[in-house]
Amino acid sequence: MDLNILWFILITVLFVGFFFLEGFDFGVGILLPFLGKNDQERRVVINTIGPHWDGNEVWLITAGGAMFAAFPNWYATLFSGFFLALFLVLFSLIIRGVAFEFRSSDPSPLWRNTWDWVIFTGSLLSAILWGVAVTNLLKGVPINAEMQYVGTFFDLLSPYTIIGGLTTLLVFMFHGALFLSLKTTGDMAERSLKIAQRIALVAIPVVLLLAGLTYYQTDLFASLGAGITLIGSGVTLILAVLFLKSRKNGWAFVTNGLTILLFTVSVFWGLFPRVMISSLNPNWSLTIYNASSSPYTLKIMTIVAMIMVPIVLIYQGWTYWVFRNRVTEKNLHY
């Protein structure tokens, strides 16, 4: 296997990590104003992700850095091409990030309410935008022979990509609700379960719709593996709902996590070996070869990644172990 393929896989892994981990962070943030009926409850909700959200976000930073290092043309075309969309992503991540820290620092109800809605807005926008971005990658965007994006922001919005945004929104909300049902106790856990069920009712038809549209709008199913993983992600979502029905919410969380994993893998598999599809001319697409760094850089980066990624996984996993207990009103930091 050449290093270009390895780095494509590694970036896939980083995005899987980001969507899986930050996915429930987004979901929790979106549900915050609705699940938390008073300040104490909202604190519980935020504290479930308190020790983790920052570390989870580093998966995105790393994915960005890895794209820059391994596929500079991908990084350059994508970030300049999706300029406004990425500005919105930044905007939401920025306001949301400070909100966690700022909210708890002042007891005034107006202050706290404001930051709660900031967390909600930041999480909501991010959750939608990632779906829009990912489906645009699949669908292809206008890229010219010089690897430059020649469309506008509004070219990124189409019924298909909006359904894509809705899909990530719902799946992340479902993920967040299930996470809360595992990390809280009593009434709060019960309410999380109820909300999870309601989200699932909407999520399933939307995901099926997306899968159907993907068949018509993209060439994802031309790759057998990508097609199977995409269908697999639908199946695991249905499994998650079934587990939820029999109140096995641990398993529901795991299977919905699989949905996120399979969906992400399917997108990247469908792209492969392209990294950005040109809707103008297939020959102008960016691939893991014409967008990549030199073999020397890839080799150096491979050595660093092979050492560091397992270490990161171990200590980040350890923090989840340290904070494995449910959050109650008696042990809050934020």
Partner: protein
Amino acid sequence: MTELILSRLQFALTTSYHFLFVPLTLGLGVLVAMMETWYVKTGNETYKKMTKFWGKLFLINFAMGVVTGLTQEFQFGMNWSEYSRFVGDIFGAPLAVEALVAFFLESTFLGLWVFGWDKLSKKVHLMAIWIVAIASNLSAFFILVANSFMQEPVGYVLRNGRAEMTDFLALITNPHVLYQFPHTVLSGFVTAGFFVMGVSAYHLLKKTHLDVFQRSFQIAVVFGLISTLGVSGIGHLQGMHLVKTQPMKMAAAEAHWETENPAGLSLYASIDEQGQKNNFEVKIPALLSFLSYNSFTGEVKGIHELQEAAVNEYGPGNYVPPVASLFWSFRIMLTAGIWLLLMAMLGLYFNKTKAYEQNPWFLKLMLWTIPIPYIANTAGWFLAEVGRQPWIVYGLQRVEQGVSTSVSLVSMLIASIGFLLIYTILAVADIYLMVKFVKKGPEAPVEESQKTGVKGASLWT
């Protein structure tokens, strides 16, 4: 053209803003870790109060640093896509390494530290804050490796229309970074030292929480003095290095138009940038030669000669960066440095004699010195980055060649205004919270009853 100016303005804004928070993170992390070390060693509750008080300020500042750092990672691709294509093979690597080696550590262990007071043993908890402190400084190293490539490209070859890495080791041992890293990190320590001294001075003035703030002041004054001396020493060495590698930057920073031997240092100059001369200057003879070579003789090349040499090497064009801006930012940095050195020595004296109680003017002065390191830091980066003009990568790519070509003016305007707005609002909130917690002072220690009492059920039940 307008796109270029907007992109430059936006980058200047977002980067300077980001670096308002970074230095305090670099230094205060180490100070908090030291305080907790004393707590764990002695069991003295005062140190725990100190750790928690300064830790809270650290966290507010840290959050701002993290979120504004996100912008840094994105905007090379967003606004400087052609630069990213040109240097991605080299420049992306330290950024990715930074995330993998340092930023993951920093963020994950900060979460552990904040939420782990009741869940971790004292020693493991202490380890967490040391990891945060070390990782944030390590993170600074890799970012500066990337920046150093823009200043002094090493370990590369021009191939396939771009700069490609040929030697990773050369990249991370770039002579430029070997000066820039200690200079930057120690400036962070200085910033934190004076932050702690200033805030402590406020409480010493009010005579509140004396136990906490006398000790804090004592630690910070030693930390601050050593760091200030370090920054100055390394700054001198760095200047000597830059005279060799980026002579135009240094000549412009001195408004040194004509080659001289020995060269004098202008304390003040009335600069005529159009006419390329100084209308009036106050000069100390031979001092510039000394600063450049540690010797009172030695030829220091002037802007005119360097411009000619650059035209010969790179073809026609203007290779002179904005002279007056550089001249004055350099002097602002130096003046601030001298001020800080004096204040640190004065602080050491007053701390030893505990005479500050009778000299409230000193404490007030210390409080008002808090912004000075910030001004010095910003002026220093101004010197480094504006002094690089017209290059985005010194000698290899010009700024106008690096800007994104596919981004519309409207998009850039929206983003620039958006950043300006959100950063302003966040600055107000940040300062409000900082002032609030500074005034409030440390809280009484919370009993550790929670540790045993409220274990929640396990995740899987």
